[in-house]
């Protein structure tokens, strides 16, 4: 660590936050972390294969400057927000103008501090919006003129899977930003993965579709980093997502009204797809190489987006994520944003709900399935209460189980968490099934056969499941051990190992 900020204080002395995806890519390039590839690359598996290799090797972010077989000159960038293996938050930190050498704890504190201070967006005229350089409407729209990547062999189609979906609540002025992948069907239609239980899907299934009304939406592709990160977060229903993006950025996000509806999208977007998700219409979605790291079947019937217009910058840059490459020992954009965006957001949410937790951190190699929470246990039953709150609010669909560790355990350190599990989780008394067989199960799960998953319209599995939590906090006896003694013991052990030539930073600890 090279900076001299007092430990624990929010960082404010970084560079300027990136105003656009391409500005962020230039910052990566200046830092030697971008690999501009000028050779011809096909959208058909080639771009994703190169990206997967880069992910697996913890290499630079690949930017494909010359994509073949697309009528509109456009570029691709693979997993642009993937963090480095040992420090997943480093590239998101750079995107937000934070020092790239922050420790994990400092990064979390800084992001949480920014999220506590939303900044209202400003609305700009279409003439000032970069995403309106080219406008195509109606029959002039052809999604296949753009190089949407075919990501995994055996995917059901080409995907846009790194965008911000903007959708309005029909009964209030609230607009939700979210991330739901879209499989391109033909020139003017896509099927969108909407899993009931999440905010935007609930708007569609339980408001618009029940009233037999189309839901106006915009897919803003390649928006500025702060907006991209906000779309992945669980911003409370009714809150202004653009203001949280502004808070995260530290300055207002610019919005612009869509061309064919009155939704407002980040003006920084590389490309915007405007359209309507139609009631009662379904098309195949998937199979898809999912974030668990395997090919997910069966194909499901999902709601249909009918496209009314596409607007974009000159030579737009289309970002994509190679889902499935962020498990095991490698990272991708999904697993990175889980750790670097959803973690601080969840921590803040739990603290705001009155739980005095230290940090809530997604386990970096199993995106969405396992979370680690470091916390004190002030009273018996506290962890059960905490689990109940999480599973019945925002964690019910994707999160399978939680690991609770002591407040002084670093949940970003896989080593420390495994140590806590080994030392403090009694197989007889500390593994708790929760809500036995009553919780919704995300149909993308790896545990059920396709037949068991079924094909329910709203997306959740037919069967219910149990969630679980592991109490890996120390008991009262070991907790009584003075922290200073343990730290001294740890230092002594490190010193012995260091003298013996053991590498103490193999790249899986929190670093910093």
């Amino acid at each position: 660590m090279t900076h001299n900020r007092p430990s624990g204080s929010p960082a404010t002395d970084g560079g300027a936050p990136a105003d656009s995806l391409r500005e962020y890519l230039r910052a990566l390039e200046a830092a030697g972390e971008l690999n501009r590839i000028d050779a011809d690359i096909s959208w058909n598996l080639e771009a994703s294969a190169v990206t997967m290799l880069a992910n697996n090797r913890d290499d630079r972010v690949p930017a494909f400057e010359s994509v073949t077989d697309c009528q509109v000159p456009a570029r691709l960038v693979g997993d642009p927000y993937r963090g480095s293996r040992g420090r997943p938050w480093d590239r998101p930190a750079r995107a937000l103008g934070l020092p790239p050498d922050l420790s994990g704890d400092e990064y979390y504190r800084t992001v949480m501090d920014r999220l506590r201070n939303p900044v209202d967006p400003v609305v700009v005229d279409a003439g000032a919006a970069p995403c309106k350089a080219e406008i195509r409407r109606g029959s002039d729209v052809d999604l296949f003129s753009l190089p949407w990547p075919y990501i995994h062999a055996a995917d059901g189609g080409r995907y846009s899977n790194l965008h911000t979906m903007v959708a309005p609540d029909p009964d209030s002025s609230w607009t939700d930003w979210s991330a739901h992948r879209a499989m391109i069907q033909d020139g003017a239609r896509a099927s969108v993965l909407l899993l009931a239980g999440e905010q935007t899907p609930n708007l569609f299934y339980y408001r618009y579709e029940r009233r037999e009304e189309p839901m106006p939406v915009a897919l803003a592709v390649g928006v500025e980093p702060a907006a991209q990160f906000t779309a992945s977060m669980w911003i409370p229903t009714g809150s202004d997502e653009a203001a949280f993006a502004g808070g995260l950025k530290g300055e207002p996000v610019e919005l612009v009204e869509c061309t064919t509806n009155d939704l407002k999208v980040p003006a920084s977007a590389e490309l915007v797809i405007e359209g309507r998700i139609m009631p009662g219409e379904r098309l195949d979605e998937g199979p898809f190489g999912d974030y668990f790291g395997y090919m997910h079947g069966p194909r499901r019937s999902m709601p249909v987006l009918r496209v009314d217009a596409v607007t974009h910058r000159e030579e737009p840059v289309i970002p994509f994520c190679v889902e499935g490459s962020g498990v095991g020992y490698s990272l991708n954009t999904t697993s990175t944003t889980e750790v670097a965006c959803i973690g601080p957001d969840a921590t803040l949410g739990l603290q705001a709900a009155g739980y005095d937790i230290e940090r809530c951190v997604p386990w970096r190699f199993t995106p969405r399935s396992v979370y680690v929470v470091s916390t004190d246990v002030p009273r018996p039953g506290y962890l059960h209460e905490l689990a109940n709150f999480i599973f019945t609010t925002w964690g019910m669909l994707h999160v399978d189980f939680f690991v609770f560790v002591d407040a002084d355990v670093d949940p970003l350190s896989t080593r420390d968490v495994v140590e806590a599990l080994a030392l403090h989780a009694d197989p007889d008394s500390d593994f708790h099934q929760f809500g036995a067989e009553t919780m919704p199960k995300v149909p993308l799960n790896i545990y059920q056969t396709p037949e068991e998953k079924g094909d329910v319209e709203t997306g959740t599995s037919k069967s219910k499941t149990a969630k679980a939590y592991i109490d890996a906090t120390s008991d009262a006896e070991s907790a009584a051990e003075p922290a200073a003694d343990r730290e001294a013991l740890r230092e002594r052990a490190r010193s012995v190992l260091d003298r013996a030539g053991v590498n103490l930073d193999p790249g899986v600890t929190s670093g910093g």
Binding site: G156, G157, I184, G280, R282, D284, T449
Partner: protein, 167 residues
């Protein structure tokens, strides 16, 4: 457009003989569309065959090589209105399931099929013909109906096993 296509077994009608409606994916562009076509395991059975890969299994990881002769590309099947389908389903279960229609031409043709032994009765003939026709022309509608019926049967079974009472 390429001359190689792909589809899932989910989209195959029960009877693959004759002219069928089929959703296929263009292997080169990944364009997904519904086509009127003939398909066969043996290319020699078609006049103008192109390769068609049929994906089988729940994860679509088993491939079978078939052939397709596209008669009309990119036809669009009307969308299924689920609410209407569900209402029709409930009405048919709760009320009369008798279907009446008047039509001299239809009666003549169906009677011919019965009298020549192709079908046992007029009602069997009408049910079979309609089912075959819809399987080919409206596979999405038939699929949704089968899903709906399966779901209802599953719910009723659960109620019975759980000692509950049907509504």
């Amino acid at each position: 457009m390429s001359d190689q296509y792909l589809t899932s077994e989910d989209h195959l009608p029960a009877d693959t003989g004759g002219e069928i409606t089929l959703q296929v994916t263009d292997q080169e562009t990944k364009h997904i569309f519904t086509t009127r076509a003939r398909i066969a395991r043996d290319a020699a059975e078609l006049d103008d065959p192109d390769p068609l890969t049929i994906l089988r299994g729940p994860h679509e990881n088993r491939e079978e090589q078939w052939y397709i002769e596209i008669i009309e590309a990119n036809i669009s099947e009307p969308s299924v209105d689920d609410a209407t389908l569900e209402a029709c389903f409930e009405r048919s279960r709760e009320g009369s399931n008798v279907l009446t229609a008047r039509g001299e031409d239809v009666k003549t043709l169906v009677s011919y099929l019965v009298e020549t032994g192709e079908y046992d009765s007029v009602s069997t003939a009408i049910r079979s013909l309609l089912r075959e026709h819809l399987s080919e022309t409206r596979p999405e509608l038939v699929d949704r109906y089968v899903d709906l019926r399966t779901e209802r049967e599953r719910e009723e079974t659960e109620l019975r096993l759980g000692g509950g009472h049907e509504k």
